[in-house]
Structures are given as structure tokens and as C-alpha cells.
Symmetry: C2
Subunit: 127 residues, 2 copies
């Protein structure tokens, strides 16, 4: 994916309605009419959002003349994830430093608080 | 982070120069002059990009009147990562299906090709 394609993908994601459309498509294919229903939007307005998502490689459209179902394309989202990869280390380091600080504070507090803090750290991490 | 803050962050990231600025700041704090140098951009042009990044919560600025160093704030990037989390499963499932398909093709091909395919899969995965 070229840097400009990544910019196009990120710009397409920078809209709550388009992200909601992707969340709906993550559950399965849908037609334009099905996508328009929960947003109370006109079909042309939804079609415009779909064109932006399609240009960004985030969705594809079926070939059937009448129905043309929309389908999520996770590959474009993965390109965003790949870009984020180099920064992941930075916030994980911060979590480590925070944990060190909490552990230092803990030396004078009861032991039962420890498991909860460990859980909080794991929630913020990748599996 | 509110949905609109996430939109602001994604919009700020949808520009190759701003992503290059973040890549530079990932290596350490820098002044506006230091950031402008590799891009051959005017200081006002860089300042404009920095304002967008700051509004998106992606960087912060120091308080020193003269120098005001810029600093990366990984927390905003983590919010993008948290949003991506629900989709990660989708492309990992696709990689699993691709691996099944490759394994099926492999039944008639030499064994030495296997390690490379395994490597390719792991590269695309989270640790």
C-alpha cells in the first residue's frame, strides 16, 4: 500500500457514519437500503459514503445489477494496523513505567489490590 | 475518547507529512526548526501541521517560550488501535483461511517451501 493510499484510507475512516457502516458490515454483507435504514439517511447520502469507503479499499461491491451488496475488506484496515505497529512499543513502554510506579506505591498498601492492577495492564495490551 | 475526537485523530493522520513528523518525534522531542529541516518546508507550514497534530492529541508542546519542543503523545494512537481491535479478528480469520488453502496446495509440493509460508503468516500477526 502506497503512503497516499494509507492517507486515503485514514481520511475515509475519519467520519463516525463511515465507521458505523464498517461496524455493520463486520457482521456481514448488506445492501445500500439495509445500510441506510439505521442512520435515517437518504440513499444518495449513503451512496456517497460508500464511494469514499470503496475508493479507500475498505469495502467492495457485488456485481449483481439490482442488489450490489457491500462487503468489508479487512486488508485496508490491516494496513492501518501495520502502520501503527512501530508506535505500539511506545505506549506499551508507558504502561510498563506506569506499572512500575503503581508497584512502588503498593509497597505500603494491602496485597489484595495487586491482581486488579495487573488486570488493568493486560486489558490495554495486545494478545 | 469521544467518537469525534477519534475522527479528529484519524483526519490528522491522513497526511504523509504529519505521519513523517510523528515518525521523527517517536525518536525523541524536537523543536519546530528541527522538524522543518528534513521536509524543506517553511516554519509557518510546519507550524500549521503541528497545530493539527496538537488538536488531535497526537503531540504536546513544551512551555519554554523560546524552544517549545514537540513531543509525541502515544495515547491518541492507542485510541486508533483500540478502535481497530474489533476488526483484527476479521483479517486474522482470513489469514487462517489462506493458510488452510496453502496447506492444501502444499500436499503435492516439496517440504522446503513450508517455513517461508509460516513466516509470512506470522509477520501479519500480533504478538
Amino acid at each position: 500500500m502506497s503512503p497516499d493510499q494509507l492517507s486515503t484510507t485514514l481520511a475515509a475512516l475519519a467520519d463516525p457514519t463511515r465507521r458505523a457502516i464498517l461496524a455493520r458490515l463486520a457482521r456481514g454483507e448488506a445492501s445500500v437500503t439495509e445500510l441506510a435504514a439505521p442512520f435515517e439517511m437518504s440513499l444518495p447520502a449513503v451512496s456517497k459514503h460508500l464511494k469514499v469507503l470503496q475508493r479507500a479499499g475498505l469495502i467492495s461491491r457485488g456485481r449483481e445489477a439490482q442488489w450490489r451488496p457491500c462487503k468489508l475488506e479487512p486488508k485496508a484496515l490491516k494496513s492501518v494496523d501495520d502502520w501503527l505497529e512501530r508506535y505500539r512499543q511506545l505506549w506499551e513502554q508507558r504502561l510498563d513505567r506506569l506499572e512500575d510506579y503503581l508497584r512502588m506505591l503498593q509497597t505500603d498498601t494491602p496485597q489484595e489490590k495487586a491482581p486488579r492492577k495487573k488486570q488493568e495492564k493486560q486489558r490495554g495490551r495486545k494478545k
